[in-house]
Symmetry: C2
Amino acid sequence: MTKIITLDHGSGGQASDDLIKNLFLKYLTHPELKQLNDSAVLEQVSGKLAFSTDSYVVDPIFFPGGDIGELAVNGTINDLSMMGARPLYLSLGLIIEEGLDLDDLEKIIYSIGRASEITGVPIVTGDTKVVPKGKGDKIFINTSGIGVIDSGIDIGPHRIKEGDKIILSGTMADHGVTILTKRAEIDFSGSLTSDTTALHNITSLLLDHFPGDIHAMRDPTRGGVANVLNELAENTELNMEIKESNIPIRAEVKAACELLGLDPLYLANEGKCLIFVSATVADETLKLLRNLPEGKMAAIIGHTDTQHPGKVILNTNAGGRRLVNRLIGAPLPRIC
Amino acid sequence: MTKIITLDHGSGGQASDDLIKNLFLKYLTHPELKQLNDSAVLEQVSGKLAFSTDSYVVDPIFFPGGDIGELAVNGTINDLSMMGARPLYLSLGLIIEEGLDLDDLEKIIYSIGRASEITGVPIVTGDTKVVPKGKGDKIFINTSGIGVIDSGIDIGPHRIKEGDKIILSGTMADHGVTILTKRAEIDFSGSLTSDTTALHNITSLLLDHFPGDIHAMRDPTRGGVANVLNELAENTELNMEIKESNIPIRAEVKAACELLGLDPLYLANEGKCLIFVSATVADETLKLLRNLPEGKMAAIIGHTDTQHPGKVILNTNAGGRRLVNRLIGAPLPRIC
């Protein structure tokens, strides 16, 4: 008989304790987590703090190229990295549906532990709740993260300037199209995989080299590249000029989008970021990026301008220009 | 027609943006939150950091004496306070079920804003996900918190000593019995209310006066007083001797427990804590506590000893002695 999660595992009693000690602490090994205190006690950090939170409700929880556990670790590391912070610590909040297969839970916790080890960002505090069958969906994961921003680093939309180049760190829409086709059970012969990966090596490398010239970074998850560029255009009152032929996209992803009638500009990405950088160092930045495995497909996809404040304009392959509007509703719920 | 949450509100597009700007930022007003960046950027703090996370899945979401929003703010503040930290910042992660009444959501966000204002601990970063109807239950809330531990403060189970007095900061089992009777629709003429409140004033007052003599603190939420004392008895290899007649409990709560055949030692509390303090200052500590509104029913309920390592022993009203075992399963799921 398969072992499953029961309500007892969320009671705070002996069953909770067994789950934590026998399964969670097997893969999550930071000494502060092992204390099982009400909160973790961590050393003083010097520099500004970055603090971020994200809940992951992706469906399915296992998908080509990743799973909800790895996504939850890397996603929050990326949110910290996008503000120029070095990620230091993560928290882990699990909401598990009664009936979840214990083997599936173990796979997820293993995956969390592995992503945490690869990135060097430990889980230091956690919480587990169990909800009755039909009141959740297998597992939802919240991770929150603390990072530190070294002195002199100031990254954000307020720093974006006219003429900045816009770099995309890799191919577009891999995560979105993978989840969508997996969920719809459309078979593209296994050629589509998610791009979930951590971006902290990209950001630390760029900030080491060009601390003053990296103006803003953003990972285009929900709503895709189109949505992030629209938000930033609105906030900065600049226009974003992008060139379709320069946007990296895998042939399989492009084909799947054409077949399904989807615009990849609106599809989610996980291990990718948009970088706004001074034009003077854009080429050197690109060269640095391409030396990293997670940046080898990076490209300059456009620049900022002042002629059409608040707008995103796509220069198409056909030689036309079109407005890229903001996404209104959900192209695909539960993408992350 | 009542307005409700739709999947579009979780898309990251225009509908998400409207919800955040028109509802969330109406009640949650910290300037860093308003930036809507990937993470909040906060000033450097001096002292050790405390970091805590908790997901709240309480059912019902509104109950006599509180709601899930207030609970989520105060609960995480309490987890930080229990380690001797001053709570500084909170994150807010919402997982909303499609179909939630927007008026109910507004009540909850209002309640979060109010609890945050009363305690002076702002929400600085957030995230909202929407899951399809039937894949969640109205709303689940994760809050994570950062606090700072002043130099010289060291609180935790490792500091508990033989002969320490055990103080309970107020009446036992109010939250557990309120949720249980509300959920079962048993009417006790409105006399039962939850005790959700923040404990940071209690902890800061005590640590100001007796920094070296407050050894450990713990809020007995899930699993109640019985469970926390068992955990600490196991960790410290001391025994916990408590006296039934000294444990504060409201007459209505006691009556409800007797009627329903429940042991209040195992029922959840929210705005209460157990404090382990040097015997020499126990009476003064009690006097200080009783001057605070949230501590006016505080009492010394027992002490630690070495004769029965790892055990919790109740000296009953009838003059007997009995072992208080650890909770195995769920007396009541989704209590917090």
